[in-house]
Amino acid sequence: MASPPYPWLNPALAVGGLSPLALLAVQGPRGALGPNAVEAALNQTGLLALVLLMASLACTPLKLVSGWTWPVRIRRTLGLLAFTYACAHFLTYLVLDQGLSLNALLEDLVKRPFITVGFTALVLLVPLAVTSTNRWVRRLGFPRWQRLHRLAYVAAALGVVHFVWRVKQDVTEPLIYGAVLAVLFAVRVGEAMRKRRARTASAARNPA
């Protein structure tokens, strides 16, 4: 059986993608993360979750624009990496920052939209991670699977909102992520409209 092109791509992505997390796990306990290690870990895991989620959302638009096929084959790895960082981010908050205080978690979830929004994004990613296998794609059927996985856009948008609310004053950086997300979304909407026009055009040519 011929091996797929670029057999090294997904393993490399997984190893490279997980290495910042490994570095955090090694440096944190050694006090190499600066005076406020928990804050440093929270900021980094949160940002990486958003970056990787947006990278996974960039795959299809990149394919549409460039014609390359390899982006689509790393989409799952990117999505699972994003989910890993989102979990690491939440666990850092719950265990290291709040000392596993469920009261503090509940209070934050109920009273603080900043936390509610971030937590919702994480919850939305859970079914996507669970159904990321080929077997689940078959079980759901591709159209339904695809509809479900559009939730990734909602999660990313919530992630951007969480980021905007996180910064104290200067919202430049989160807004850059928001703008990139909007561009990715626009490419897809454009493609969907093009397809629809093509369908109606061909339907007009070949009346049933």
């Binding site: 090294w8 490399a12 490279g16 290495s19 600066g34 005076p35 990486l48 900043f114 104290k168």
Partner: protein, 330 residues
Amino acid sequence: MSDKPPEEPPGSEITPEPLYLRRRELLKNAGLFAGTAAAVAGGLYLLSGKQRRAMDAYVPDAGRVTGPVAKASGEFDTDEPRTPYEDVTTYNNFYELGLDKNDPARLAHLLKPRPWTVAIDGEVHEPQTVDIDQLLSWFSMEERVYRMRCVEAWSMVIPWLGFPLAALLSRVKPTSHARYVSFTTLMDPEQLPGQKRGVLDWPYVEGLRLDEAMHPLTFMAMGLYGRQLPAQNGAPLRLVVPWKYGFKGIKSIVRISLTREQPFTTWNLAGPEEYGFYANVNPAVAHPRWSQATERRIGEGLERRPTLPFNGYAEQVAHLYAGLDLRKNY
């Protein structure tokens, strides 16, 4: 030794061509794998690790404070463990020198604390603009070990060097109309490049009620840990109000005005729902985005401490706010 030509290896030992090609393919793939993994790791780190990039081995070179230092009476000092000097001088909020916590230490060299003058004006009988060294020569320096609670729910314990604000105010003699004191930070985008960006309304302005300003805990710091104040901590002169959130402690002061009306203050203007004029440390009033009930003491590991009303100075200052609804006047 035989002079026969070297025997060819038996055919069974010759690598079959497909395998030979596969090995080359394997090596090539291994190289691509390593290169891609390294590029992905490096890219992600560059994108997300800026807060953690090494502190540039910043060594503050502010000298020892010379001249006599009267030990504080000690009645206000906390005996809690002091936050290490390195943490106090590399983990700062001083947006004029950058938004990340380690930016101010990196950019500290841009701020020149000498020569420096401080204007004292408004409702005072003796308005004047005074050279910083002359101003400092008016007072004997004291050390005060205070808790510092940031509105972001972290805290430190810092040995400040300086003098009570009340001593300065008494010297310039407030008029009977003076009810508030406002403070202004240096406005100079060359020395404070953060002022080139409109993150806040520059220059930074803070204020106190006159009775708060005259309280014996309210302190003007020109040093910490027995050394001149490093620029990132607000050289050459800053305010320290230990029962209020840290943002009240305005840095690098060039102007002190006594006023009749409550002055506008920078963070209150930027986010009135989040940052009040009083900004007294209060575990019962949450910030809209996080609880203020607990805090992380920098340098103390993972356990959070409960936050105390008025940052543990309630006995000294609670009476200033008798009859005031602290939920409304946060």
